[in-house]
Amino acid sequence: MGNVIGIGASPKRKEDQRFLTGRGNYVSDIKRPGMTAGVFVRSPHGHAVLRGIDKSAALASPGVIAVLTGEDAAADKLGSLPCGWGISDANGVPMKEPPFPMLAQGKVRFVGDMVAFVVAETPEQANEAAELLKVDYEVLPSVVGVLEAVRPGAPQLFDDVPNNICCDWELGDKAAVETAFRKAAHVAKLSLVNNRLIGNPMEPRAAIAEYEPGTDRFTLWTTSQFPHVVRFLMGALVLNIPQHKLRVVAPDVGGGFGVKQFHYGEEAVITWAAKRVMRPIKWVASRSEGYVSDRHGRDHVTEAELALDETGKFLAFRVNTLANMGGYLSTFGPNIPTNLYAPLLGGVYTTPAIYCNVKVVFTNTVPVDAYRGAGRPEATFVLERMVDVAASEMGIDRVEIRRRNMIPKEAYPYQTPVLVQYDSGDPMGCLDGALIAADVKNFGIRKAASASKGKFRGLGYSTYVEACGLAPSRFAGRLGARGGLYESATVRVHPTGQVTVMIGTHNHGQGHETTFAQIVSEKLGVSFEDVDIVYGDTDRVQFGMGTYGSRSLVVGGAALSKATDKVIVKGKKIAAHLLEASEVDIQFEAGKFSVAGTDRIKTFEEIAGAAYVPHNYPLEVLEPGLEEQAYYDPVNFTYPGGCHIAEVEVDPETGTVTLVNYTAVDDVGTVINPMIVEGQLHGGIVQGVGQALFENAVYDESSGQLLSGSLMDYCMPRADHMPMMKVSTHSTLCTHTPMGVKGCGEVGTIGSPAAVINAVVDALSHLGVTHVDMPATPNRIWRLLQNASLPVAAE
């Protein structure tokens, strides 16, 4: 028997034992008897008419078992890949939702769009045959940028989507905002780009599908963050496979960041093909294939205006954004730049009027969907840049203008003008803590030291809030969600007192096997070692919506907490029976059931044992067994937030930006495992720094080719880009989640880009630089300095 390791402790992660000793079990590790290999043939063109496919040479190639195309899928009457959200414009007109065939039909719309699937005995043979497939393309002009896509005369992706606009969406009180702007003492304006990103999880996507004729059942092993959702979307909406005949397994998954939280065409094609060839099929994406098929993130072009009174109080905020959707609507696509973006434009401020218009636009690029932070980093970037621009134009200190507009701690719960109501928070407390932790008062000394070396030093703030814990189904339903966003957990107590938890979230690096075990250990008083967390298998786990939107602890943990409470209630019934007391007199504490005011006690193990040996049970009021299930649907989002302070040094000779200090004070509510939270913050911050300084998905404008299509050209952040980070928490408790938790998975990516860019602008502000687009690459900074036309003294 080990020990209780409960809430607030930092045990080493249980799962790391297998990950770090090479004993993980990833999709590509799995081998099935008689397994074949599948390869996708993808469009090399950004936009083309698919005039015909000649399969004969590929089919004649050695080892080839099948070659499947969009025509075959159409002949089998398979559905289109569904979009999980249906948004509408201001008049209630639903978004344009063109079909997204799992293999292209009639046209290809991005480089990487799938045109055929080749199945052969070996991957080499499949690759060989794929090269022999003759696809007749009539190449059309591509359009890759949102500004170009909405211009008259732009190439049209779909006949029935004029100007490539999927939806002209808005939120907020336009008239109130206009009135406020008329009364403003100052209006600050900002145009910016939120750069397109590629997730690059360590493990590329992969899938294995198998059909068992004996039971008429399909199994799909897939690198997914939400196997139950894949089962539903693919089974019910694409392939017409009854839910009880389809098992989806997402085993160990090597990172997701959102990239693996969509239902992909590859999953549907391979599952369909497995029955056609009556053999298991494995597909493993290459890194290069991932670049042109993993859903991309961000990609906004935005104009923003902030109206202020003469004291720097924000009166109104107006934001117009063009958001890139890529060639088709992915699972959450249209939800990200709308519902997960505009409601965050209030930030931590008391801005009374906000209006946001978002044009959601199709282009000849990989479909864009959620990527760590999803919508909220974009909103935070616009707002926090805007605040700095306004401060500088009005000559008000950047910290001071934030203080003047911040929601005071006492004002929570706080209703914003853009739907969301923050339940709790203390942005001023986070700011104050961060100012001290970042040693802001001595910044001047450090800046002077940099200047003496010919370097420019800058400090940047981001005081932000986000909405996560996706999501209250009632709320989401009103916004266009086509499903619920609750979570479920089953707590199974074995006769010997050990516990297996079946939970609908998915662990792909977040440490759930540890955090969730701590919750159970604390609540039931059982050993941390005696709790196993099961996830990622629709045959083992009742149901679940998976992991994304910082929801696992907030929503899944709440379901787990509820189910554990039910176990205690049942345990009390059993204890009352065994101790011959009334149920109301039974107390449970630290793993022991006792009769209040007596020394009569039953341990948790004794109760677990008794639950499965129901000799002389009052069966009419007490069932045998000790297993409970709970579903939890949150009543509100949670609102983690905080203050991030970045300090950079710019080498004006080369334009290189070096991040020299980074401080974050975040409010994530109750912290279950501080070590894991710190790791999540570190990882998130590094990803945000990646967006700010390095990462950029670049397409060639005319051909639609992805120019940053490999790690040679797409710059990921690396360890040596980062200083030691100072990360800490300043928590207020969430008022509506069972444990007061708020979620911490995305805060790093949400808070950091604005902090870093604000620091870069600060470093260069003496040269008249007022904005720097992301990523702030050396080339871009150097050019800004050239254009600043001021002496660049580096000597």
Binding site: L707, M712, Y714, N779
Partner: protein, 265 residues
């Protein structure tokens, strides 16, 4: 990767014979460049001729006025060599900046020079030091060896066996790493000899090149200030998603200054 035959000869003439007799066959040294192109199916040679079993292609020797590095010597060995560090420290520094530890353990000087990647580091050192490329059949001066984008003076069946570097009075290398690949966005090697200074630039254009105005200026005054005002013409320089030609031109000047600085320190 497509199937290919694999040969591991032990004599240089045998290796050369295999190259002439099997059309499109390729030498493989460290494989750090070649193997990825095979995996991506960008090259499909019918046979690979492995150089690892040929005698005498590894190691570093000191001939007094020159240092000779065997073609199969990995970057990590050059970087760590006390001999190179004491005689041509700039070259050891250059080798230490190539790729990552795995690449430096496998990749070889012969492979790098034969490949002549426009962003590779060694070509700058070889041209900057005015080294001699020793092959299975002849000796080629660096100035005659690099012929632009992945092109060299090597014949089909010619094998680099060693590179011979004259020991300079001073030499230094400064590299501005491309953000993603960490190859040279611009790398400048400067070497001062009794009879003058050589300046070689990699990364900036389609192949390594010398900068005569900088060489002249440094020959008169071997100091960073001598090159600080010398601007490079953008003609023929590369523009890509990481850097436009004018930025690369600017970096040539900055890196030249820093290379001289490094040579002096």
């Amino acid at each position: 990767m497509k199937p290919f035959a694999y040969h591991q000869p032990s004599q240089i003439p045998d290796a050369a014979k295999l190259l002439t007799s099997i059309e499109d066959s390729k030498l493989v040294a460290g494989g750090m460049t070649l193997i990825p192109t095979l995996k991506q199916r960008l090259a499909n040679p019918p046979a690979l001729v492995d150089l690892s079993k040929l005698g005498n292609l590894k190691g570093i020797t000191d001939d007094g006025a020159t240092i000779t590095i065997g073609a199969m010597t990995p970057h990590a060995v050059v970087a760590a060599s006390k001999l190179v560090q004491s005689k041509i420290p700039g070259l050891a520094v250059l080798a230490s900046m190539i790729g990552d530890p795995a690449v430096r353990s496998r990749g070889t000087i012969g492979g790098s020079v034969a490949n002549n990647d426009p962003a590779a580091d060694y070509p700058a050192g070889v041209l900057g030091l005015g080294a001699t490329i020793v092959t299975s059949t002849r000796e080629i001066a660096a100035d005659k060896f690099f012929l632009g984008l992945f092109e060299t003076a090597l014949e089909v069946s010619e094998i680099i066996t060693a590179i011979r570097f004259p020991v300079p009075l001073k030499a230094g290398y400064a590299k501005f790493k491309a953000p993603a690949s960490r190859y040279a966005l611009v790398g400048v090697f400067v070497a001062k000899f009794a009879d003058g200074v050589r300046v070689a630039v990699t990364g900036a254009g389609s192949g390594v090149f010398r900068v005569p105005p900088m060489e002249a200026a440094l020959s008169g005054n071997f100091d960073p200030t001598a090159v600080a005002a010398i601007k490079i013409d953008t003609d023929g320089l590369t523009s890509d998603i990481h850097a436009e030609a004018d930025y690369r031109a600017h970096l040539v000047t900055v890196m030249a200054k820093r290379a001289v600085d490094a040579a002096l320190s």
